[in-house]
Amino acid sequence: MENISSVWPLAAVVISLTAAIPILLSERRPNLREGWTLLAGLGKLSIVAALLPGVMAGKRYVFTIAEVLPGVPIQLRVDAMGMFFALVASFLWIFTSLYSIGYMRTLREHDQTRYFASFAVAISATIGVAFSANLLTLYLFYEMLSLSTYPLVTHERNADSRASGRKYLTYILGTSIGLVLPAMLIVYAAAGTLDFTTGGILAGTTLSPATLALLLILFVAGFAKAGVMPFHAWLPAAMVAPTPVSSFLHGVAVVKVGVFSILRVIFDIFGPDLLRDLNYGVVLTYFVSITILSASLIALTQDNLKRRLAYSTVAQLSYMILGAGMLTAAGMTGGLLHIAMHAFGKITLFFCAGAIYVASHKKYISEMDGLGRRMPITYAAFFLGSMSIIGLPPFGGFISKWKLVVGAAEGGQMVILTVLLVSSLLNAAYFLPIVYRGFFMPPREASVAQVREAPAFCLVPLCVTALGSMALFFYPDIFLRLAHLALGE
């Protein structure tokens, strides 16, 4: 692989970070302020897109920010896996921004300047995670993301959001300091480096299998943004945030960053071969299967739409780790692909949930009877998004799920295969009734008759992402190619 020294990775990361300053300064001129947000978003996507051809050709762009520890610089490196994630995040980011503008303005939310500034820092941190060249840099941006999303999660500033914010930080920061940091130090003490290397860096070290098992546990549990049970409870709690924040948490950034970090560690710190030799992959898949099934079951019982979506996310995140844990080519590809496919599907669903709230101020599924006929576009998009998550053709979700099924079958994992099938049925069981109630049940309240579609700023993004998740079925090539490159095939 060819390494090219370039400042563009740094530019991609810091462009929105710097945009936070003019955003803060343009408090009195909202249009200008949102202009900065969109400008930075477009700039970021352009930079990422400009790096794409090189990465597809097998190049890696490197930028060293500072030499901080012997053998471990703070360094950015754009490789296929990072590009994969950055592409998804920076693309969806623009639509999240547009949607935020519509949502926040329609609801006349307070403190919009702080909101957009925090958002800008958070997306910088996300791209930083994607482009991190080593575990230390990843940890740095991971923490930056946790801290910058705190004001977003607690945006409402009431007792509820205070409690949720506390829960959010306790889980996210507590695990990263308490589990990931020591794990990172043990890796560094043993391997002398933290560089992400295809095939891993732990293979030749003197660490005993027991220590390696401990490390795996520390990492999988420590990156609690991935919501693997029992460290998932922050996710439903964080639903008190405004809906664009939830879609950012679920679609673009936070939870995906957690999964991405775990996949990085599995692929580039442990290395699939080492895990295969120790037979830890199977253990990991069984472990996350518990999360998949129980989170899906809990989702069934939730009446609050956003909470149902949150539990669905918990289950879907574990799909990605499940795929990686299979340690077969198809499984790992499927796990990685599912990051993109789920992002498009889930962000659509959250956009729809927000649009429903903006238009009708309803949060509970049981109140939404008949709403679909008043908001056909939103509900159609919701249907498309849920089909993708269930994993049916012609939607992107089918491709990743197919890969996962193939991966399980290749590995002869009948149990995993069953888990995948059962959970797909559960997905259908908790999504489709929402659509059914919307279109076919008579409205329970008279107020439903006055409801109209949400404003265009909300509607356009959700249509784009819904169609996007369909487009991914027909044109998955870029993502497939990047996934293959990332896995060194």
Binding site: L69, I74, A159, I177, Y188
Partner: protein
């Protein structure tokens, strides 16, 4: 002996300014600021000069009054003391900008007295860093302590009582140290550190040497507030005038840790310290771990911002003592780097405290509600300081903690590793509790009152912002600091 006398400039500038401030400050307070800042500015510039000189030419030795050692007093500037000189003088300079304002607010009319003591304290700290004479060290230790007692007693309320408490504890500590020096003098007939270090290994007096070593250590531990000898610190620093707090909190304990390193490795040797008495080394690291945990627990119990910070200082002392006693290069690197980082972090937090105190009635948690809206810049800087204490990269606190934990992993001392990780978590709780109050306001559920920003005066804000930026710059530069300076300070035998 060196050609230039830069180190004398560093020492003399604050000392002479102290007298000038006392005389001219009586005539007009307009003299105080230029004299103080001018002297400290000169000290800082000279420290930068001497740091480069030492890095370029090696250790500088200077004999005061040309009385050759071991009879005369010798001053030594090696890489470690050059780093400390720069730290002391620059922290003092930055702290003074804020102190000038807060002293003016708190004790109108007594400013010249305050700054006289203040400058002598700084001169004493510089002297402590420079001296290579064990008895001279005692004298300077008392100079810094006595000026501290005076500065603390100038505070309001229970300050006098706290100062008295500190006098008792401080005098006990000084007596221990002096006893230790006495033993060494009887054994070796010398007070010069290098001279003693040359004579000690040849002596056949194990118990007496051990007693001397123990007395010296305990004396310094009391002075640095190493748990459980920390009782004086919290009341003293929380009742001191804000202007004295910003100087003492970052510097006094850190300089004392430097002195411990000096005694351990310049008077005694790593072989003696770590190997002569089996079990002691591990026991002290355990004590440090325990101290970290207990001080963190005490910090959790506080409901006043400044009191909480004072207990964090005690916990951080455990970090550094533990790091030095891990007896490996990573632990030592971490400890020295943490002296630097902790001084800066404490400075940042105490500067924010004085900025906040200038605008709020008290520093109890209840009066901190809604501060993010009222003082956005102050709180931004406070947040950076807090992140550094928690150990969030790229702030500097992360990197010293990294070396310390790595040293613990290498030494297989899991108790110390656990204590560091737990203390980071406790710090996260401590600071997010305040961040939450400041972000949300006080009473849950009550609508937030929209208040216009009322930032602290610019003279308190600018040093704070500078320090907050320094936390990140030093963090990103820690690779260079370690390879360029700190690696030179690791004594042979590690």
């Amino acid at each position: 002996m060196s050609e230039t006398n830069l180190h004398m400039v560093i020492l003399a500038a604050p000392l002479l300014a102290a007298f000038a401030v006392n005389l001219l400050g009586r005539l007009s307070r307009a003299w105080i600021a230029p004299l103080t800042l001018g002297a400290l500015g000169i000290s800082t510039l000279a420290s930068v000069g001497i740091l480069f000189q030492v890095l370029g030419e090696g250790t500088i030795r200077y004999t005061v009054g040309n009385w050759s050692p071991p009879f005369g007093i010798e001053l030594v500037v090696d890489p470690l003391s050059a780093l400390m000189l720069l730290l002391v003088s620059s922290v003092a300079l930055v702290a003074t900008v804020s102190a000038l304002k807060s002293v003016q607010l708190e004790m109108e009319g007594r400013e010249h007295l305050f700054f006289t003591l203040y400058l002598i304290l700084i001169a004493g700290l510089v002297g402590l860093v420079l001296t290579a004479d064990a008895f001279n060290l005692y004298v300077l230790l008392e100079i810094t302590s006595i000026t501290s007692y005076g500065l603390i007693a100038m505070g309001r309320g229970r300050a006098v009582l706290s100062s008295f408490n500190y006098i008792i504890m401080g005098s006990i500590g000084a007596s221990f140290y002096l006893l230790g020096v006495g033993y060494l003098y009887i054994l070796t007939g010398s007070l010069n550190m290098a001279d003693i270090a040359g004579i000690l290994p040849g002596l056949n007096a194990g118990a007496a040497v051990a007693t001397a070593f123990a007395f010296l250590l305990v004396g310094l531990w009391i002075k640095m507030a190493f748990f459980p000898l920390h009782g004086w610190l919290s009341p003293a620093y929380s009742h001191a005038p804000t202007g004295a707090g910003v100087l003492m909190a970052p510097l006094v304990t850190k300089v004392t840790i430097y002195l411990m390193i000096r005694i351990m490795f310049s008077v005694f040797s790593p072989e003696y310290v770590f190997s002569a008495h089996p079990g002691i080394q591990t026991a002290i690291v355990w004590a440090a771990a325990l101290g970290i945990l207990c001080a963190s627990a005490l910090a959790l119990g506080q409901r006043d911002l400044r009191k909480m910070l004072t207990y964090i200082i005690v916990a951080e002392v455990g970090y550094m003592v533990g790091g030095v006693w891990l007896a490996n290069a990573n632990g030592m690197t971490g400890a020295v780097l943490h002296i630097l980082n902790d001084a800066l972090m404490t400075l940042c937090l105490f500067l924010s405290v004085s900025a906040i105190a200038s605008r709020t009635s008290s520093l109890s948690f209840d009066s901190l509600g809604g501060l993010y809206r009222r003082m956005p810049l102050t709180m931004a800087a406070f947040t950076i300081g807090a992140f550094s204490m928690i150990g969030v990269p790229p702030t500097c606190g992360f990197f010293s903690k990294w070396y310390l934990i790595l040293g613990g992993v290498e030494a297989g001392h899991w108790g110390f590793v656990a204590a560091l990780v737990i203390s980071s978590l406790v710090n996260a709780v401590l600071f997010f509790r305040i961040i939450e109050i400041a972000f949300f306001g006080n009473i849950p559920g009550e609508p937030v009152v929209q208040e216009a920003p009322t930032e602290a005066p610019w003279s308190m804000l600018s040093p704070l912002v500078v320090t907050a930026v320094a936390l990140i710059v030093v963090g990103l530069g820690s690779g260079r600091i370690v390879s360029g300076i700190i690696s030179l300070t690791i004594p042979g035998g590690f």
